[in-house]
């Protein structure tokens, strides 16, 4: 795989026979193996669900498993071609999470259909739509991987991305409610015909790209120290702009769209990026102060925030109220039923938890797979973020570092906010669990995120092909008499 690179090195540098190391392995084989493993786990999960729900066990399951593997094999081939040195763990982890999510949604569909049949109603199943969304998301993943050959090209469009991101974020709040209806108390949806989209999901990534590029170009500004108070270097007042901007945007999202999750996610990610860019803890302290201030304001102004906090303190006290602790209490009952080992896939009653296939899917998984299974899934998320962070550390340009760090953090923060909410660690703020939950926009946006991470990890692990043999202006005298030999063209896929 790497022979063209090695072949080019030998004659060009001549004297370093001992110093040449074998070129870095691409590890695509590992990726394929793990993808196969993930497909096997998903098929096993589907089989257990069918067995426990007393469906007919047929060869169908094998076909589903193979179709799933085929879908990700396409992604694998694309990665092999367009990002050959990308991290081998990211795609299999995503495949496992997405697959288990599909199985869980299917399982909840079965339960809901049964419930509806008993009540004599008809309901729409969610799993065909989610499979469709997965396919579309993988297509988008491929598109991003193919179009963006080098993540550094994104910096050229950073302000465009920032503007489009803001526009998308504000869109549902501004549009009239026949296009942007209020669903579950939040005005974050766009409804066009049968399709509904959450533009905010994409806005997050666009704004993140903008912020990474902005911080790289204005990095020195934030390093400049202002007055020194109590032994701490405070930043200058005019440099506070971006933090205040981020704070205002998140507060705006909270006020106009009543979406706690997105606003928390947005502010947290930008805070972390500022910290990564400047290595100054003072930004975190400042940000947290702003956050506490914003939280207090929000708490005093909005009843829905008060409601959420009351539900968080004691879900059972508000159990019977409208918009009360019913959801969280049911989720906790579900997790309690699951216990350490879970009830077994397909043997629990996850349909008793409201929104079991979106925001509360962690409760459904905790019920059927127990603590052991949920912990395994959380570890898979951790591995995913870990590999992203590692790529960010290893990549050789600052924009890549910031973008990679920000994207990985965005991913793991989503998991923290939603699982923390379901398990009553923090107030519940309705966002989806990446790749697991039912929801097209979230799936599409997270696949874009993964494509960008793969692109960065590819840049990080790709062996350096050295500088291109470009004539250097004013060659030093020591080299003036040597002839510039045309180096055999190094194959550069970019």
């Amino acid at each position: 795989m790497s022979t063209p690179v090695q072949g080019a090195v030998g004659p060009a540098t001549g004297q370093n026979s001992a110093a040449t190391e074998p070129a870095a392995p691409t590890r695509r084989g590992t990726e394929l193996l793990l993808l196969g493993f993930a497909a096997f786990v998903v098929s096993a999960a589907l089989m257990l669900v069918e067995a426990n729900q007393e469906q007919q066990l047929t060869l169908r399951i094998v076909w589903y498993g193979l179709a799933f593997l085929g879908l990700f094999a396409v992604a694998h081939v694309a990665v092999r071609k367009f990002a050959p040195y990308a991290d081998p763990l990211i795609l299999p982890c995503v495949a496992l999470l997405n697959g288990l999510g599909l199985v869980m949604i299917y399982r909840i569909d079965l339960a809901m259909t049964e419930k509806a049949l008993r009540a004599g109603r008809e309901i729409n199943n969610d799993v065909p739509k989610q499979i469709l969304w997965t396919t579309v998301a993988l297509a988008l993943f491929l598109a991003v991987l193919i179009v963006i050959k080098d993540h550094r090209t994104l910096t050229k469009y950073s302000y465009t991305f920032g503007l489009v991101g803001l526009f998308l974020l504000a869109l549902p709040a501004v549009l009239p409610s026949f296009i942007a209806p209020t669903i579950n108390g939040a005005k974050i949806w766009l409804k066009v015909g049968p399709f509904s989209l959450q533009p905010g999901e994409f806005a997050k990534i666009l704004l993140l790209v903008f912020f990474a590029a902005f911080l790289v170009s204005k990095r020195d500004l934030f390093m400049a120290a202002g007055r020194r108070v109590l032994g701490v270097d405070l930043p200058r007042a005019r440099d506070l702009g971006p933090v205040v901007f981020a704070w205002a945007v998140s507060l705006g999202v909270l006020v106009f769209q009543k979406d706690l999750g997105t606003s928390l996610l947005f502010f947290g990610t930008i805070l972390v990026m500022l910290y990564v860019a400047t290595e100054r803890a003072v930004w975190v302290v400042l940000g947290l102060t702003l956050f506490v201030g914003g939280a207090i304001i929000a708490y005093n102004l909005f009843t829905h925030v008060q409601q959420r906090v009351a539900n968080w303190f004691d879900p059972l006290a508000t159990y019977a109220d409208a918009g009360g602790g019913y959801q969280i209490a049911q989720a906790l009952f579900g997790l309690g039923t699951g216990g350490i080992g879970g009830t077994g896939l397909g043997a629990g009653r996850p349909e008793l938890v409201p929104l079991a296939n979106t925001d509360f899917i962690a409760a459904a998984i905790g019920e059927e797979l127990g603590f052991i299974g949920l912990a395994a899934l959380l570890l898979v998320y951790t591995v995913l973020a870990l590999r992203g962070m590692r790529s960010a550390l290893a990549v050789r340009d600052t924009f890549g570092k910031l973008l990679g760090g920000g994207l990985s953090f965005l991913l793991i923060m989503q998991v923290f906010v939603v699982v923390g909410g379901v398990t009553k660690l923090i107030p519940m703020t309705g966002i989806t669990a990446p790749f697991l939950s039912y929801g097209g926009s979230s799936l599409l946006a997270n696949y874009v995120l993964i494509a960008l991470l793969l692109r960065i990890s590819d840049a990080a692990r790709r062996p350096q092909t050295g500088a291109r043999p470009r004539p250097v202006p004013q060659a030093p005298i020591a080299e003036a008499h040597t002839v510039m030999v045309q180096r055999p063209q190094v194959e550069r896929p970019e």
């Binding site: 090195v9 060009a12 540098t13 004297q15 370093n16 110093a19 040449t20 190391e21 074998p22 870095a24 392995p25 590890r27 590992t30 793990l34 493993f37 993930a38 096997f40 786990v41 096993a44 257990l48 067995a51 426990n52 763990l89 496992l96 170009s217 990095r219 020195d220 879970g342 009830t343 077994g344 896939l345 043997a347 797979l369 052991i372 299974g373 395994a376 899934l377 570890l379 898979v380 591995v383 870990l386 590692r390 550390l393 290893a394 050789r396 340009d397 600052t398 570092k401 990080a460 692990r461 790709r462 062996p463 350096q464 050295g466 500088a467 250097v472 202006p473 004013q474 030093p476 020591a478």
Partner: protein, 147 residues
């Protein structure tokens, strides 16, 4: 029933362990990022002399902590996108400096930069041999060679 339940959880954890195995094998593999193996740098000071430099480490600046394994090919530094080390630094030129191997020694040369390249305290005006552990300064970035 109980068997399949436990079996599936075991399968899930096997996947996690397989993933962690890859993480582990990667820690020691020769990739762009080299992680210090315990016991690896016990007597770095003693080995400093008479050992060929094996990696370039950025010690200060925006890219601090970045390591590049030296494999004999020249290392270009500057703001240009195709540099080996891409410097986002207002004080760096597009093609700022080059590190190249001659015989067994690495030499640094300035490629006509605006703000200059410094080896320790001295401005680099001609190719200079870079000893191990001696800082090279380009704008706000400081790099050094390590074995």
């Amino acid at each position: 029933m109980q068997l399949t339940r436990a079996g599936f959880l075991a399968l899930l954890w096997l996947f996690v362990l397989a993933a962690l195995r890859v993480v582990r094998s990667d820690l020691y593999a020769a990739s762009g990022l080299r992680v210090a193996v315990p016991g690896f740098r016990k007597s770095t000071a003693a080995k400093m002399r008479g050992k060929a430099p094996r990696q370039l480490v950025v010690t200060h600046g925006a890219l601090a902590g970045t390591r590049i394994t030296l494999d004999g090919r020249p290392i270009m530094m500057g703001r240009a996108d195709d540099s080996t080390l891409v410097l986002d630094d207002d004080y760096a030129s597009t093609r700022h400096a080059r590190l190249s191997l001659r015989g067994t020694d690495w030499y640094v040369e300035d490629l006509g930069s605006t703000n200059g390249t410094y080896l320790d305290r001295a401005k680099v005006t001609q190719p200079l041999r870079v000893p191990l552990g001696v800082p090279i300064r380009i704008g706000k970035t400081v790099i050094e060679l390590r074995s």
